[in-house]
């Protein structure tokens, strides 16, 4: 069987005549027949493309020759020989295999990279459901910076201090280590009739327990507080100053917005109990009184998460 691209060209302005199958594929094979091979070739290559390539490859002899060797099939295409074994003599199968060889010869590019059907004609693929993103990992460390007020509640006049607050919470779990310092500005107070300028620098360490919802993190803290306390008399005849250290227990509650950003606002309320507040000595009163037993305050600011 010999396949010859005998091309009949049309006259001026007329479309070219189609290439006949027998002119492209020929041979004596009956399994598969040249026409069966041709039919398979036309399924592999678009009609126009096939005609164009056959006209481009036009020669005096058929392009493909198919020979039935009994248990084998021999395909000669453009001078290249392909032979494959097929003992079952499945002619349709043989035709498909021989057609591949023929198509590779006629239009190798089309076979290697078949044209992609137009997307517009393809049915729209259903959207692939995507898994929800994993929840963001809690920050390992939170640094909180804010402004604070702290009031001692058992002096003759309530001592209200304003200042700053710096806290650090470390840990991703429900419990975290927490430490903080709260530099406060001096305030004038009266203890037992003795007017004093009071300055206080409290610091604390403790544990923070927290519960987080989609929008807010609520937390509570419990720890040990230590404060540097300085008192200076304002209007005694001999005005001295003294400093000491207070020890106490601190508790706090707070809320922080759960934002996607590293930064989030927070507010907190804190209380500190000083079981043994220092005594204020001034003559002639002697022990004029004690510094506050209880300190209550509030803090507001920004929390920054660090992974």
């Amino acid at each position: 069987m010999i396949l010859t691209p005998a091309v009949a060209r049309g006259g001026d302005g007329a479309p070219p005549a189609p290439v006949e199958p027998s002119a492209a594929i020929a041979g004596t094979s009956t399994c598969p027949t040249p026409s069966a091979v041709w039919t398979e070739v036309t399924t592999l290559l678009p009609h126009d493309r096939l005609q164009e390539r056959l006209r481009a490859l036009a020669s005096s002899s058929p392009l493909v020759d198919v020979t039935d060797g009994g248990a084998t099939v021999r395909v000669v295409a453009a001078g290249r020989v392909r032979e494959f074994r097929e003992e079952a003599r499945d002619c349709a199968y043989r035709a498909r295999v021989a057609a591949v060889f023929a198509a590779l010869t006629i239009d190798p590019a089309a076979i290697i990279a078949p044209p992609v059907p137009p997307v517009a004609n393809a049915p729209a693929a259903p959207p692939v459901p995507t898994a929800p993103p994993p929840p963001p990992m809690p920050a390992l460390v939170r640094i909180e910076l804010g402004i604070a007020v702290d009031a001692g509640v058992n002096t003759s006049t309530t001592a209200v201090h304003a200042g700053g607050a710096l806290r650090l919470a470390a840990g991703r779990g429900r419990l975290a280590f927490v430490a903080g310092v709260m530099p406060l500005l001096p305030a004038d107070v009266s203890v037992g009739g003795v007017r004093l300028r009071q300055w206080r620098l409290p610091a604390d360490v403790g544990v923070r327990g927290r519960a987080t919802s989609a929008t807010v993190e609520a937390y509570g803290e419990l720890g040990i507080a230590v404060a540097l306390l300085s008192e200076r008399a304002l209007d005694l005849a001999r005005a001295d100053s003294g400093a000491t250290v207070e020890l106490g227990v601190r508790a706090a509650v707070g809320y922080r917005l759960a934002t996607a950003s590293r930064f989030a606002p927070f507010v907190a309320l804190q209380a500190e109990l000083v079981p043994f507040p220092p005594a204020i000595l001034a003559l002639p009163q002697g022990v004029a009184g004690h510094t506050p037993l209880l300190w209550i305050g509030a803090t507001a600011g920004v929390s920054m998460g660090v992974q």
């Binding site: 009739g193 003795v194 004093l196 306390l229 008192e231 200076r232 008399a233 005694l236 005849a237 001999r238 005005a239 001295d240 100053s241 003294g242 400093a243 000491t244 250290v245 207070e246 020890l247 079981p275 043994f276 220092p278 005594a279 204020i280 000595l281 001034a282 003559l283 002639p284 009163q285 002697g286 022990v287 510094t291």
Partner: protein, 259 residues
């Protein structure tokens, strides 16, 4: 020592230290005399301070350990003022250098009851028109020991300017015999003429009177004294201790010095 035990010990020490913390912020006490030096140096070593005894003998001023109020010593002022004799004086005085607005206080001990024939001044203020001229000095207020009709001892305030006794807020306050009692006066004399004197006996108000300023030089003399005339028994002993001048009230429970 294990780490937990070390931490526990340190915590106990810290809490104990914190519990004992005291902040000494100063004092309104300007001057004291406690006689613990065994002398009158607290009086005599300051400007305008003196111990005045006349005539001597028989009158005596001495530091004694017989009956201290606090500590180990007190001043013992002894005068002998029999009937018919002139004024007998044993006094501790500070003249000048004192606040025109201040609290003056002292503790007294009267071992026996004394019948006062004429007067017995134990607490006295004087002023000057011209601080630099002693001749302009004038007496202002005398706090005297005297007797009630029942024989108990009491106090009266004599106003030299007014020339008479000032009615007391609490009539006939009883002065204890055989126990320490505290007398304190707030003396306030100002150029604005809003002066005032207030006296307390053992913390109870004795008298509170306005005193329009006559002396604008703000010069004050304060005497803790035993100035008597016509006393019976003639020899009268008065112990004095823990004298103080302060900008704020001391009171019987006040502290005039650190222990």
């Amino acid at each position: 020592m294990t780490l937990p035990r070390t931490i526990a010990v340190l915590a106990v020490i810290a809490v104990t230290a914190a519990g004992c913390a005291e902040l000494d912020v100063g004092s309104d006490v300007l001057w004291t005399a406690q006689f613990e030096t065994g002398s009158f140096s607290e009086w005599s070593d300051v400007g305008g301070g003196a111990v005045e005894v006349f005539p001597m003998p028989p009158n005596i001023a001495e530091v004694s350990n017989e009956r201290p109020h606090r500590g180990g010593s007190a001043a013992k002022l002894t005068v002998t003022a029999p009937s018919g004799e002139s004024r007998q004086t044993a006094q501790l005085t500070r003249a000048g250098g004192l606040p025109a607005d201040g609290y003056y206080s002292a503790w007294y001990y009267l071992p026996v009851s004394v019948n006062v024939g004429t007067y017995w001044v134990i607490f006295k203020f004087r002023t000057r028109d011209d601080p630099t001229d002693a001749s302009t000095a004038g007496e202002r207020f005398d706090l005297d020991l005297t007797n009630m009709g029942t024989g108990e001892m009491t106090l009266r305030l004599y106003d030299h300017r007014g020339g008479g006794n000032v009615p007391l807020a609490a009539a006939d306050p009883i002065v204890p015999v055989g126990s320490w009692f505290h007398i304190e006066a707030h003396y306030r004399d100002t150029p604005e003429g809003d002066g005032r004197v207030t006296y307390w006996l053992n913390g109870r108000l004795l008298v509170d009177v306005e005193t329009p300023a006559l002396r604008t030089a703000e010069w004050v003399e304060w005497d803790v004294s035993s100035i008597g005339e016509n006393l019976s028994p003639a020899t009268a002993v008065l112990y004095v201790d823990d004298c103080a001048v302060s900008r704020t009230r001391v009171g019987p429970t006040g502290t005039i010095a650190r222990d």
